[in-house]
Symmetry: C2
Subunit: 341 residues, 2 copies
């Protein structure tokens, strides 16, 4: 709470409210403290904060969009944080500035199952050129997604040219994150036998690359076999772009093996998609799709909040579920009441 613009008096000190101009100046200057507070502003549910956040974002828009936006997913235990820590250190050593964000709706309940504390990425946490931000611990998947999406923009405006968005491999989250990144990397374990190891349906169709982690020690052979199996199975997943067939690589985040090759592939993807104009069009589509999903979300919640709809809904849903009336009839009855207000 100490970084919240609405922080109450605490030990006698009250942090000065920042103006939109203050935030803008501080973010563009790459001041970490201001960046942190700007993100807190974005995450705040208070309407006045929301308004201020949107003003800030519009001002920052001309300065955003410059980063490689990479989603990294995989089930707990696959070694995501070690991977990000190890890859991140390499990238910052090469002069990149790295922001690590997370989308983890469960954290609202669990208090943060991923990136819950920065000690998970001890080296990056104290790395001058890295910025690690825990998942927003509030709200629906849609809400968390909006905050993360807008946090990406602010980080880009602050000069971070690589943004890694970490998620747990629980399906719905991945499709939301795939809508805000340029590249989706799926981390898997060598024991490929366990059909996708709990990864949810549809994920293979979102990924731009599969990396089999922990390909070290006695796992090497298993990883090699897993790699072949995934390659053959991915041949049956029609690719998102005819210009890119998702490769399957192996790596050991622990030993730092294979990470350079993985990053080189990500850069290759970026080059190909940029030259083909697909990167720009992918982001354009993402923005429009995002606008419409926000509109839909709000329309539905308007609808559900409508007193007459709210009064009818339980009964009608029960009748539809039991097959007493048709879905078409139930929908039109609900809509009648909504429209004739």
């Amino acid at each position: 709470m100490a970084t919240s613009p609405s922080a109450p008096r605490f030990s006698g000190v009250r942090r000065r409210e920042l103006s939109v101009a203050d935030y803008e100046r501080g973010v563009l200057a790459g001041e970490r403290a201001i960046l942190g507070r700007a993100i807190t502003l974005i995450e705040s549910a208070r309407p006045d904060h929301q308004k201020k956040a949107q003003e800030l974002l519009v001002r920052l828009l001309p300065h955003s969009g410059g980063a490689r936006r990479v989603g990294i997913t995989g089930v707990p235990g696959v070694g995501k944080s070690t991977f990000i820590e190890s890859l991140g250190q390499r990238l910052t050593e090469r002069g990149h500035r790295l922001a690590v964000l997370a989308v983890d709706p469960s954290s609202a309940l669990s208090g943060g199952s991923i990136l819950g504390d920065k000690t998970r990425m001890a080296a990056l946490a104290v790395n001058e050129r890295a910025f690690v931000r825990p998942s927003p611990t509030a709200g629906s998947l849609g809400g968390v997604a909006r905050k993360t999406r807008e946090t990406i923009q602010v980080c880009e405006a602050a000069g971070y040219d690589v943004v890694l968005v970490e998620t747990v491999g629980i399906g719905q989250v991945e499709s939301v994150v795939a809508q805000m990144v340029d590249f989706v990397l799926l981390l898997l374990l060598p024991n490929a036998g366990d059909e996708l190891q709990g990864i949810k349906r549809g994920i293979l169709e979102l990924v731009d690359m599969v990396a089999i982690n922990k390909a070290d020690g006695e796992n090497r052979l298993a990883a090699k076999q897993a790699r072949e199996q995934y390659e053959s199975s991915l041949r049956f997943v029609p690719p998102a772009s005819r210009r890119w067939v998702p490769p399957v690589l192996t790596c050991s985040a622990r030993d730092g093996e294979g990470l350079d090759r993985i990053w080189a592939k990500i850069e290759e993807h970026r080059r190909i998609m940029t030259e083909a104009g697909e990167l720009a069009s992918r982001r354009r589509k993402q923005r429009l799709k995002w606008m419409w999903s926000l509109v839909e979300e709000e329309l539905l919640s308007l609808f559900r909040r409508d007193p007459r709809v709210a009064a009818l809904l339980p009964e009608l849903e029960a009748q539809v579920a039991s097959g007493a009336i048709t879905p078409t009839l139930a929908a039109s009855r609900l809509l009648e009441h909504f429209e004739t207000q």
Copy 2:
């Protein structure tokens, strides 16, 4: 048009308008002519027909739901109509009553690329125990889907205990059809090398069975190899139910080989899902999801038709696409104008 309740005077004869009670009696008696006219009523865009159709459907609901609802998909050339004809004949010989429907939004343009004429299924067309209905040749995918969904109910009320819904393998349609059937069968050709042969992304996750057709003559070996390839690739598609791993079979619709085994599998699926209560819950979820998708569709069209929204939309969409404003801001501006009317 001759079967349309609103058919104009023609050769001096005008078909008597049927009352809802007439339709109900005729459908429940299994009168083909009345069934055909009931479906035409469902397909009609006229508000009074729509109202009448919904009244009829509610009356028929207690008598519907009894059929095996099977979706059959595959690219043109895979042999869907031969397969349906050959399987259908077998089923009617065993005493089943079979309805064959189609979902083909393109038919609105093409005049019906599938089931455009019944001569494609000559034997079924004259089969007393079979009812073949072309795809509704009007409206959006959503519209065609609604009509097909409700046509299934009417056919069930008319005593058809097997309903086959045919689609062309073009992705979006399959996910809509999967929402109205109990089982999705994907037909493929033996040359599996051509990654899913143009089948769209996501389909593998909808299918309950893959059948490799044209496994005859010199194709036998290729079909066997394709079968193994698809089996290994399906292992990496997490199944919809832990009770059912989609099998991969081969068949020759032309020679009638393998069709009995395929149908036996479909019956096995039905038995397992029924005993587990998954069939009932799948249909319950389908009905509720359907109601909500109708609500969403109408809310969005209300929104787009709103004059102030319509006036703002082009400019805001352009600004979002170009990245001049945030999707969040654009959405809230549009919604402001919509809500404050």
